[in-house]
Symmetry: C2
Subunit: 176 residues, 2 copies
């Protein structure tokens, strides 16, 4: 079982947006430059996060993406499920009801115990990711990280950020 490669992109982009000043936005082009990932595909994926209520998109010259709610209220689960859906990786096709060993419908009123145990494992995975918010992630970063993130994002030529940061800090790589 594999999550889409874009899962990493969107977790990182959401964590980046969590470091912006309140009300500030970043465009898909800026985020794509910030992480050197394909802009068009990223833009589509970011729209998925908008649909899932994780981000809001604003239009116009100062338009872009920002978090739809406080970082403390956005869990990693919400982001991952916005990318990949909520289905369990285990698919039960009820093979217990077919073939020579077929159980009767009466015997299958309850969920198959194997499907039940697989669902419990999926629940454990979900609980783990539901227990971590973007605010928890940001809290692990060095104190200087958000200012640097904002400055570097602002140096991206993809679009004008809605609140331009003062520019790259000394020692930062030049924009390209």
């Amino acid at each position: 079982m594999k999550l889409p490669v874009s899962t990493e992109w969107l977790l990182h982009c959401a964590a980046t947006l969590a470091q912006l000043d309140p009300g500030a936005t970043a465009s898909a082009a800026q985020l794509a430059q910030y992480y050197d990932i394909p802009a068009a595909y990223l833009a589509k994926q970011l729209q998925g996060l908008v649909k899932a209520g994780v981000l809001v998109a604003t239009t116009g010259p100062r338009g872009g993406f920002r978090l739809a709610r406080p970082a403390a209220e956005i869990t990693l689960l919400r982001i991952v499920e916005a990318v990949d859906g909520t289905a369990s990786p285990y698919e039960c096709r009820e093979i217990r009801q077919q073939g020579l060993g077929a159980l009767s419908p009466e015997e299958c009123r309850n969920t198959c115990v194997l499907a039940e145990k697989m669902a419990e494992a999926h629940d454990a995975w979900r609980r783990s990711l539901a227990g971590v918010s973007l605010a928890d992630i940001i809290a692990t970063l060095p104190r200087t990280a958000p200012a640097r993130t904002r400055a570097r994002l602002a140096s991206a030529t993809g679009a004008t950020p809605s609140r331009r940061a003062p520019g790259p800090a000394a020692g930062d790589p030049p924009s390209r």
Copy 2:
């Protein structure tokens, strides 16, 4: 993320083999008839469980598959990972080290906190499945289930079971 469809097959086949008499075996053809699933593909998948040390395969006219160890020592995790591998569904390609926002190698000595949280969720999933053995599964079945399983498996024409059970019980569907 999706587990292969054969995950259900192999969990069920292993649970079926856990109901045989000690030393008895069932062939891939018998198991395929028992669950009405494709025999050739099932046979290949069962060999995967042999490689993983979950089953042993014996050859000859009485040959077939049986558990490689007591049912209490075979966890669902072992079976699922024999089918799908042990990799985490989340792939970290270190995008934090690329683009305008690239962190320095020194800043990336530790695992990315997002990859770390995704790994913790995978660990929670693995722990959940590692906590359930085939013996636990069998313990949830009605007391009469193992005898019926053996009888129906023996009625499969796929091959001669190594210890033929007395035949289908009254009310069982005819073999085909």
